[in-house]
């Protein structure tokens, strides 16, 4: 079975400070991992993905994520938060050997960047 855990429903950070949104996963075998962001009344926007290779993945809007196989984690990070980063963030996973292409999503983390 595949699953994703986002242990924090809410993360608050001051503008200009680094931010981290946590994600851990459970799959059989090696995972494909994704981060999406959702702004109010909008669909999900793709931020970045880990497929293979370098454990540090860089994505849109200055975000990056680090794949840690031993800790089964894929935390999203940004060196300096902006107020405009305030949104709902979803981590998703897919096991490489599954038949369907559906993603398994976490429950989301609401990020608030305080001016």
């Amino acid at each position: 079975a595949q699953s994703v855990a986002q242990p924090e429903d809410q993360v608050n950070v001051a503008e200009g400070n680094p931010l981290t949104v946590k994600c851990t996963y459970s799959v059989s075998g090696n995972p494909y991992l994704f981060w999406y962001v959702q702004y109010p009344n909008r669909g999900l926007q793709f931020l970045l993905k880990y497929i293979t290779g370098d454990n540090l993945v860089k994505g849109s809007y200055g975000f990056e994520a680090e794949f840690n196989k031993s800790q089964t984690s894929f935390h999203l990070k940004k060196p300096s938060a902006l107020v405009s980063d305030s949104a709902l963030y979803f981590c998703a996973v897919r096991a490489r050997q599954t038949g369907a292409n559906n993603l398994f999503f976490g429950t989301g983390t609401r990020l608030t960047v305080i001016p």
Binding site: Y36, K49, N101
Partner: protein, 114 residues
């Protein structure tokens, strides 16, 4: 929103009535998906399609049916809506079934079943 439109964007209906949601894409992508988003659950897959007339069930398919008669359109039907189907519904597309392929999402349809 990646060349994907969903209609209607908002709908309020009554229990027991049929409802059809439409997803339209201009990208000519082969794969299309319907998800529902609920608080505390994230997004869950309802049905997906891997080509015209080719569909399969997802994680939460009970009470839903789908049809795809053209590459660009993927319809989600609630034959007899229930209050438990009140949710936000998202359509997504991807070019290929490979696990590496990114799914792109539409703007969503907010459905309320009274």
């Amino acid at each position: 929103d990646a060349g994907i439109t969903q209609s209607p964007r908002h709908k309020v209906t009554e229990t027991g009535t049929p409802v059809t949601l439409r997803c339209h894409q201009t990208e000519n992508h082969r794969y299309m998906y319907w998800y529902r988003q609920d608080p505390g659950h994230g997004l869950r897959l309802i049905h997906y399609s891997y080509g015209v007339k080719d569909t399969d069930k997802g994680e939460v398919s009970d009470g839903y049916s789908v049809s795809r008669s053209k590459t660009e359109d993927f319809l989600l039907t609630l034959e007899s809506a229930t209050s438990s189907q009140t949710s936000v519904y998202f359509c997504a597309i991807s070019l290929d079934r490979a696990g590496t392929d990114t799914q792109y999402f539409g703007p969503g349809t907010r459905l309320t079943v009274l």
